[in-house]
C-alpha cells in the first residue's frame, strides 16, 4: 500500500531519524566536550566551615589538620606562651624546594590582639586553607607559595580569644594579666556575674510602674530608653548583671584585664597616662614579647597585615601625628596598595591611623613600620555599612519612618535576616539583693563586631585577597642584562641591570638612615680583578650612546657597596663598574627583604 504520508513524509521521516540520531548522540556525549566527564567542582582536601566561630582550641586543631594534610608546605610552630600559659602559634607556609626560607620575602599575617576581635583568626584559617587547596590549581597561588614565605599567627592573644568565647561577659579587648583597675590593691576581684547561668551577662531591670527612670522605647519595644526630664517610666535600670563580690560598696568595678595589647609595642610607646592601656613598659606582655622576638628573628619579613575589627578600614600608620608622616616614596607604595585594597574590599576605606581614626601610641604596625622597616597594614574588619548595602536601601534608611531606619535597623536585620539569633529576650529572675527583676535586653556578643556567620566567608576571602596582593607586591630584586665592554689594557666596563618591579621598596625610605634594616649589598667577586670605580647610570644603552659624567659611589670598598636606601619600588637602574683584570666576575645583589640575585660575567 502506498505510504500514507507521501513524499514529504519520507523527508520528514529522514529528518526525524536524523534528529533522533543527534539526540542519541547528544545523550551519550556530554555537553561542552567530546571527551570530558561532567562532574561537580572538585571536593576540597580539608573540610573547614567558615560560617561559624572557632575558639582557640578548634582554631589550632584546624591548623594542625592542615599541617598534616600538606606537611611539605605547612608547619605549625609554637613561638611563645600567653600569660595564662596557652601556646601562641605561628604557621609557616614555605616551599622548601624553591630556596632557603630566609632568602625569600615573607608576609606576616596576625590577628586578634584584642580578645573580642576574633574573625581575623578565621581569615588566617581561610588563608592557609585557600593557598594549599589551590596550590597547583591556580597559577597565581602556586607562584606566590613558591616565591614567598608566609608566617601566620592566627591569634596573638589566645587568652583574650578564649575569654570572649567562654565568659558570659567576655567582650573586651584586653588580655588576662591581672590589673588593679579600682586601685584597691587587689586584682580583678569584682568581675561581672552570670546570675541566671545562661552564659551571657545581660542587663537587669525592675518593673516599677510609675516609679522608674526608664521606659519601653516607642520605636523598638524590646529596648529601653531613659524618660525625659520630669517624667516617670515603668522600669528601673539596675545596670549589668552582677553582685558586689568584694563587698566594697561597688559592683563589678574590677573586671578581668583592663589593658590594650596593641599599645605595648616598643615604638612611640607612651606611659599609661598618655596612652591608656599601654601597661608599664613595652613588651611587658608575654604575647607582645614573643611576637617582637619572632619578628626580630625573621628580618626577611617584608609585609605585615594585622587583623582587627571593626569599621571597614584599611589602616596604615603613623599612629600619632607627632611622629611625622611617612616620606613621599613610601606613601606612594602604601597608596597604590591601599587604593587597590578599597576595590577588593567594598565598604572599606584606606586611611591613616592618627588622622582618620584616633591616636595610637605603641601600636603594632607603628613598630613594624618604623622599628623594623616593614610595610604594614591593619584592616578593621566588617563595616556597619554591610548590612543594608544597596544604594536603594541606603536611601530608604534616610527616612526616619522606614522599618530599616538606623534606630530600628538592627532589630529588623536580626528578625528578618538572622531569624532572631542575636537578641536576648527579657526573662524574670529572683536577685539575692534586689528581689524580682528581669534579665535580658542585650545583643549576644557575636554581633556587630563580627559579621553575621553567613557573611563570614566573603569577609575572609576578600581580606585574604588583599593580603595576598600585598604579598605579591613585596620587593623582589631581579638582575637583567650583565655585560662587559672591553676598553683596553685589561680595563673593562661592566654593566649590570638591577630592578625591583614590585610596588614595595627593598628598604622603606622611612627607615633608611636608621639602621634597622641591613643595607642591601652589591658585591663584586673576581680573583684577578681590581675595581677602579663604580657608578649608577640610568641605562646602559643610553650611556653607550651618550656617556655623561657619572658620580662616584664614594665608598672605600667598592667590592662591597652598601645601599642603605635599597631599591625603590618599580625601579630599575644599572650599575657600571670600571675594572681591571681578567677572568670572571660575579656581581651579586643581596637584599634582606628583596632576595639575592647574581650574574657572572666573563671579561673578554
Amino acid at each position: 500500500m502506498n505510504n500514507p504520508l507521501g513524499r514529504n513524509s519520507r523527508t520528514a521521516v529522514r529528518l526525524a531519524k536524523g534528529l533522533l540520531a543527534v539526540l542519541v548522540v547528544l545523550a551519550v556525549i556530554p555537553q561542552g566536550g567530546l571527551t570530558q566527564k561532567f562532574v561537580s567542582d572538585p571536593p576540597f582536601k580539608v573540610k573547614i566551615d567558615f560560617n561559624r566561630w572557632h575558639d582557640t582550641a578548634e582554631l589550632y586543631a584546624d591548623m594542625r589538620r592542615m599541617e598534616q594534610a600538606w606537611p611539605k608546605f605547612v608547619k605549625v610552630n609554637v613561638i611563645g606562651k600567653s600569660y595564662e600559659g596557652r601556646d601562641i602559634i605561628a604557621v609557616t607556609i614555605n616551599n622548601p624546594e624553591t630556596g632557603p626560607e630566609a632568602g625569600k620575602a615573607a608576609m606576616l599575617i596576625e590577628a586578634n590582639v584584642h580578645g573580642n576581635e576574633i574573625q581575623g583568626g578565621e581569615i588566617c584559617l581561610y588563608t592557609v586553607w585557600y593557598l594549599m587547596e589551590n596550590y597547583g590549581r591556580l597559577e597565581a597561588v602556586t607562584r606566590l607559595v613558591n616565591e614567598r614565605v608566609f608566617y601566620i599567627i592566627p591569634t596573638i592573644n589566645p587568652d583574650g580569644r578564649q575569654y570572649f568565647f567562654e565568659s558570659p561577659a567576655g567582650n573586651t579587648r584586653s588580655g588576662h594579666m591581672p590589673t588593679d583597675d579600682d586601685s584597691d590593691y587587689q586584682f580583678d576581684e569584682d568581675m561581672p556575674d552570670d546570675l541566671n547561668g545562661n552564659g551571657v551577662v545581660e542587663q537587669m531591670r525592675k518593673y516599677a510602674p510609675g516609679k522608674g527612670n526608664y521606659r519601653l522605647s516607642a520605636t523598638v519595644p524590646r529596648m529601653l530608653e531613659p524618660v525625659p526630664f520630669g517624667e516617670k517610666g515603668d522600669y528601673l535600670m539596675l545596670g549589668t548583671e552582677g553582685l558586689d563580690n568584694d563587698h566594697d560598696g561597688r559592683v563589678n568595678e574590677d573586671d578581668a584585664g583592663g589593658y590594650d595589647g596593641n599599645r605595648n609595642y616598643p615604638f612611640d610607646w607612651q606611659p599609661n597616662y598618655i596612652q591608656r592601656g599601654a601597661m608599664d613598659y613595652p613588651t611587658q606582655l608575654p604575647e607582645s614579647k614573643a611576637e617582637v622576638d619572632f619578628i626580630f628573628a625573621h628580618p626577611n619579613i617584608a609585609g605585615v597585615q594585622s587583623y582587627h575589627n571593626n569599621g571597614g578600614m584599611i589602616l596604615r600608620g603613623p599612629g600619632a601625628e607627632a611622629v611625622g608622616d611617612y616620606p613621599a616614596t613610601d606613601i606612594r607604595a602604601y597608596d597604590e596598595l591601599g587604593k587597590t585594597g578599597e576595590r577588593i574590599l567594598p565598604f572599606y576605606n584606606y586611611i591613616v591611623i592618627w588622622s582618620g581614626l584616633y591616636t595610637v601610641h605603641g601600636g603594632f604596625i607603628d613598630w613594624t613600620n618604623d622599628g623594623m622597616g616593614i610595610l604594614s597594614f591593619s584592616n578593621e574588619l566588617w563595616s556597619g555599612e554591610q548590612y543594608f548595602t544597596s544604594p536603594e536601601l541606603k536611601e530608604q534608611q534616610k527616612d526616619p519612618n522606614s522599618p530599616i531606619a538606623p534606630q530600628k535597623s538592627r532589630a529588623f536585620f536580626d528578625d528578618k535576616v538572622e531569624l532572631g539569633a542575636e537578641f536576648m529576650e527579657w526573662k524574670t529572675f529572683n536577685h539575692p539583693q534586689f528581689g524580682e527583676v528581669e534579665i535580658g535586653g542585650t545583643w549576644r556578643k557575636f554581633t556587630s563586631r563580627v559579621p553575621p556567620r553567613f557573611m563570614n566567608e566573603e569577609l575572609c576571602h576578600r581580606n585574604m585577597a588583599f593580603t595576598l596582593y600585598q604579598a605579591s607586591e613585596m620587593p623582589m630584586v631581579k638582575m637583567g642584562d650583565a655585560s662587559a665592554e672591553k676598553i683596553g689594557d685589561g680595563v673593562y666596563r661592566l654593566f649590570v641591570d638591577i630592578s625591583n618591579p614590585k610596588v614595595a621598596p627593598t628598604i622603606l625610605e622611612r627607615v633608611a638612615p636608621n639602621g634597622v634594616v641591613r643595607p642591601d649589598l652589591l658585591t663584586l667577586d673576581g680573583k684577578n680583578v681590581e675595581v677602579i670605580s663604580a657608578s649608577w647610570i640610568g641605562n646602559a644603552e643610553t650611556y653607550k650612546i651618550n656617556p655623561t659624567i657619572t658620580q662616584f659611589i664614594d665608598q672605600k670598598n667598592l667590592r662591597r657597596i652598601m645601599l642603605r636606601n635599597g631599591l625603590a619600588g618599580k625601579t630599575s637602574r644599572t650599575i657600571m663598574y670600571l675594572v681591571k683584570g681578567a677572568g670572571e666576575v660575579t656581581v651579586k645583589y643581596d637584599s634582606v627583604k628583596g632576595g639575592t640575585v647574581s650574574k657572572t660575567i666573563k671579561l673578554q
Binding site: 586601685s183 612611640d268 611622629v323 584606606y350 582618620g356 536585620f413 636608621n514 645601599l563 642603605r564
Partner: protein
C-alpha cells in the same frame, strides 16, 4: 649668711660626717679598690651571711653572660613587713664604666648592716623603712675594667652591628702602643681640624680659622681600619648602654640605645623587679647623669651634658659610619609629606562611624549615615566631614613638674652639703636613663649623681652652657635619625640658656671668675688630676701605624675620667651613706590621727576620722599623680556597706596627702550596736599603713 649660722651649719656638717666616720666599721681596705664580679659577689654573700636578720640577697636575673644581677634588701625584722614599708632604691653601674657607683652602693649596704645596732639613725631607718640596693645592674659590662685591653665603654656584651654595615663587631680598637689601654691617636694631617692646645700641650682643640690658626692633626680612636671601610674602630665588641634603654626620652636609633626600648635583659629585669616593689618611694642612682649636684632649674630642666673633647673629637670620626651608602632618593612625584596621606584627612567620617569608633566595642550602628548616636540617646560627637576626627592628644612631660621642683632643689642642696660635691665631674644626657623613668613614669623622687666631683671650682663655673655651639650633646654621634623623630622634645639639653644655678649659695652667673672662665672640661679634669696626683693621662707617644706611617697615641686613661681614684671610695661612701639616710628621713607616712564614735541612739552612730601624713614628702609627687602610677591612699571603714547610712562610702581614696601634716577628714553615719568594734584601715602604696579601731558604746 651670718657668721653664727654659718658656724653652726659647718659644725653640723662636720658632726654629721664625723658621726659616720666614728660609727662606721667598714674596713677601710675593703673599699680601697674596685671590685670585679667575683669579688663583688663574694662581698655580697658575706654581708648577707654575716647579717642574716637584716640583709637578704637575691638575683633579679641572669645577663647574656649568665651572671647575676644582685639585689639586696636591708630591713630590720619586726614592725610592718618590708614590702609594706616605704622603700629607698639605690641602683648603680648601669653604664659599664661607672664602677664608682657599684662601690658606693656596696659601701652604703655595708654601712647600714654594720651600724644598725650602734647608730640611732640607721636603726630608725631600718626599723621603719626598707633599703633596696642593686649594686651592679650591668655586671657583664662592668667587667671590661679588668679586660686585658681596657676600653672604657658603657655597654653590655650584646653583639651589635654599630654602624649597620652587615657585619657585627668587626672593627674594634687596637692597642698600638701596647699599654693595655685604649685612648686616642693623633695623626699629622694638613686636612686635620685640630691643633695642640698652646695653653696645655697635652690637650688638643679645634683650630680657629678666625684667629689665623690652621689645623694640623686628625684625631681617631686608637686603632686600625680592620674592615677597610674607611673608619677606625667604629664597631667594637658590644653592646647596648643599659642607661639608654629605658622608656623616657628613649634615643631612637642611636648606636648604644639597643634595637628598641627595653630590648635588653638587664633593662627588663630591673623593670620587672621595681614593678614588683611598688612600695619604693624614692630612687637614688649612681650613674653618668646628674640631677643632684646641679638640680633641675626653675624651668624643670637638667644641666647640659659635658664630654671630654679628646673623646668627642675621636668619636666624630666614626659618626658618619652609619650613613655611608645613603643616596639621595630617586626623584619622587613631588608630593609633600602627608599631602596624599592615603585619604587621611580627606576622608569623610560620618557621625555614625565616629560614634562606633568612640564606643570602642559598644553597640553598633547598622548602616545609614547620620541618625542618632549609637548609644541610647547620646548624640554622636561633632560633625567631622573632611576634618580630622581627633581627640586632643597629650604629650608626655619632659620637665620636672613645677610643683615638684622645690623638692629636687632642696634635696640637691642637702646633697652638696652632705657630700661637699659642688662641681660636676662630667654629665651625659639622660635620654633613656633609668632615673628619669623613675620620676616621669614610676612617679617618685628620683635622683642620679656620678657620686664624686672635681673639687676646687665654685659652683656655677666652668663651661657656660646654653651658648650656641659651645656645648651640648656629642655632635652627630653615631647615625642620628633623619626622619621626623620623636614625640618627646629634649628636656635636658640646651634648655633655658642658663646654667642650672646653685641653690641659695648665690651661684655666680656663668662667665665670671676670671682665668677659670670658659675652660673646657678636659682642662678642668687635667688640673684636678695634676692636683690630686692621679695618673690619669697617657703621655703622647710615637708609634708606627700600618696606614698612617707614624702616629702619636695618648689621651685620658680609660676609666680615669669617669671614676675617682680608689683611695677616695671610702670617704665618698661615707657621705653618700649619710645622704641615703637623709632621703629615708623624708618619706611620707600615713596615719590615723583621730578616730571617734558618737552614739545618736536608735542604733545610729557617727564615726569621725582624720587621716594625716606626718612625713615630709607628700604621699605622691605631682608627677606621680600626672602619671597615675602612685596609687591613691585607701581609707576603708571595716563595716558592711549596707550599714552605712550616709557620709563617705565604705572605701574612699585620697589621691595625695601633702607632707608635714597634710590632713583629710572623713565622717560616716552607720547602723550598729553598742559593743561593736569598728575598725578603720588606711593603706598607702608608698607611705606605709595604719589601722585603728574603736569600740562603740
Amino acid at each position: 649668711m651670718s657668721r653664727k649660722i654659718l658656724a653652726g651649719a659647718t659644725a653640723a656638717i662636720i658632726a654629721g660626717l664625723a658621726f659616720f666616720g666614728l660609727g662606721a666599721t667598714a674596713e677601710a681596705q675593703d673599699f680601697a679598690k674596685y671590685h670585679n664580679y667575683a669579688e663583688l659577689s663574694a662581698m655580697l654573700k658575706n654581708l648577707a651571711d654575716a647579717h642574716k636578720t637584716l640583709v637578704k640577697l637575691e638575683s633579679i636575673g641572669k645577663t647574656l653572660g649568665k651572671w647575676d644581677m644582685w639585689a639586696l634588701q636591708i630591713a630590720a625584722p619586726g614592725g610592718a613587713p618590708a614590702a609594706e614599708r616605704p622603700g629607698l632604691l639605690i641602683a648603680a653601674n648601669f653604664e659599664a664604666d661607672h664602677l664608682i657607683g657599684s662601690e658606693l652602693a656596696m659601701f652604703i649596704a655595708d654601712t647600714l648592716a654594720k651600724n644598725y645596732a650602734s647608730n640611732a639613725e640607721v636603726k630608725r631607718c631600718l626599723d621603719n623603712f626598707v633599703v633596696y640596693i642593686l649594686p651592679r645592674v650591668n655586671p657583664d659590662g662592668a667587667e671590661f675594667m679588668w679586660a686585658p685591653l681596657k676600653w672604657a665603654r658603657r655597654t653590655n656584651t650584646r653583639p651589635v652591628d654599630d654602624e649597620n654595615d652587615g657585619r657585627i663587631d668587626e672593627d674594634g680598637p687596637v692597642d698600638l702602643n701596647k699599654d693595655g689601654l685604649v685612648s686616642v691617636m693623633r695623626v699629622k694631617d694638613p686636612n686635620g681640624e685640630y691643633i695642640i692646645d698652646p695653653e696645655e700641650p697635652r690637650l688638643m682643640r679645634k683650630a680657629d680659622a678666625k684667629k689665623g690658626e690652621r689645623g694640623e692633626y686628625a684625631i681617631y680612636r686608637e686603632g686600625i681600619d680592620q674592615d677597610q671601610d674607611g673608619f677606625i674602630a667604629e664597631d667594637g665588641p658590644g653592646g647596648v648602654n643599659i642607661n639608654r634603654n629605658f622608656m623616657h626620652e628613649y634615643p631612637y636609633f642611636k648606636t648604644e640605645a639597643g634595637r628598641f626600648m627595653v630590648s635588653e635583659i638587664e633593662t627588663r629585669a630591673v623593670l620587672e623587679w621595681i614593678l614588683a616593689h611598688r612600695n619604693i618611694a624614692a630612687i637614688l642612682t649612681f650613674g653618668e647623669s646628674d640631677n643632684l649636684i646641679v638640680p633641675p632649674n626653675t624651668g624643670g630642666r637638667l644641666s647640659t651634658s659635658k664630654q671630654l673633647d679628646l673623646v668627642e673629637f675621636a668619636d666624630a670620626t666614626v659618626a658618619g659610619a652609619g650613613r655611608v651608602g645613603i643616596f639621595p632618593s630617586a626623584g619622587g612625584f613631588g608630593f609633600r609629606f602627608g599631602q596624599r596621606g592615603g585619604g587621611g584627612g580627606e576622608m569623610v567620617i560620618t557621625e555614625e562611624m565616629l560614634s562606633q569608633l568612640m564606643a570602642a566595642g559598644g553597640p553598633f550602628m547598622f548602616g545609614g549615615p547620620g541618625g542618632g548616636g549609637a548609644r541610647g540617646g547620646q548624640a554622636a560627637t561633632q560633625q567631622t566631614t573632611g576634618a580630622r576626627a581627633q581627640r586632643p592628644t597629650r604629650t608626655a612631660a619632659t620637665t620636672v613638674n613645677a610643683a615638684d621642683i622645690d623638692y629636687f632643689r632642696m634635696i640637691g642642696a642637702k646633697y652638696s652639703e652632705l657630700t661637699g660635691i659642688r662641681q660636676q665631674p662630667f654629665v651625659v644626657n639622660p635620654e633613656g636613663a633609668f632615673f628619669q623613668y623613675g620620676y616621669y613614669q614610676f612617679g617618685v623622687p628620683s635622683f642620679s649623681t656620678p657620686g664624686w666631683g672635681l673639687a676646687g671650682a665654685a659652683r656655677g663655673q666652668g663651661m657656660p652652657s646654653g651658648l650656641p655651639g659651645m656645648q651640648g650633646g656629642p655632635p652627630g654621634a653615631g647615625g642620628q635619625s633623619q626622619g621626623a623623630m620623636m614625640t618627646a622634645q629634649r628636656g635636658a639639653g640646651t634648655g633655658t640658656g642658663q646654667r642650672a644655678g646653685g641653690l641659695g649659695a648665690g651661684a655666680a652667673p656663668f662667665g665670671t671668675g676670671g682665668a677659670e672662665q670658659a675652660q673646657s672640661y678636659d682642662r678642668q679634669l687635667l688640673q684636678w688630676m695634676d692636683k690630686e696626683k692621679v695618673d690619669g693621662f697617657v703621655a703622647w707617644t710615637k708609634v708606627k701605624h700600618p696606614d698612617f706611617g707614624e702616629v702619636e697615641v695618648g689621651g685620658f686613661k680609660p676609666y680615669a675620667a669617669i671614676n675617682p681614684p680608689a683611695a677616695k671610695i671610702a670617704e665618698l661612701g661615707k657621705s653618700h651613706a649619710g645622704f641615703a639616710l637623709y632621703l629615708t628621713s623624708l618619706f611620707a607616712k600615713v596615719g590615723i590621727a583621730k578616730l571617734e564614735a558618737t552614739n545618736h541612739g536608735g542604733g545610729i552612730f557617727r564615726i569621725k576620722a582624720e587621716v594625716e601624713n606626718s612625713g615630709f614628702l607628700p604621699t605622691a609627687l605631682a608627677q606621680g599623680l600626672t602619671a597615675g602610677t602612685v596609687k591613691a591612699t585607701k581609707v576603708q571603714l571595716q563595716v558592711a556597706p549596707e550599714s552605712i547610712i550616709s557620709g563617705s562610702s565604705k572605701t574612699s581614696t585620697v589621691q595625695a596627702l601633702a607632707g608635714s601634716g597634710g590632713r583629710i577628714k572623713f565622717e560616716w553615719l552607720i547602723k550598729a550596736k553598742p559593743g561593736d568594734a569598728v575598725g578603720l584601715v588606711v593603706t598607702s602604696q608608698k607611705a606605709g599603713a595604719d589601722k585603728r579601731s574603736v569600740v562603740l558604746k
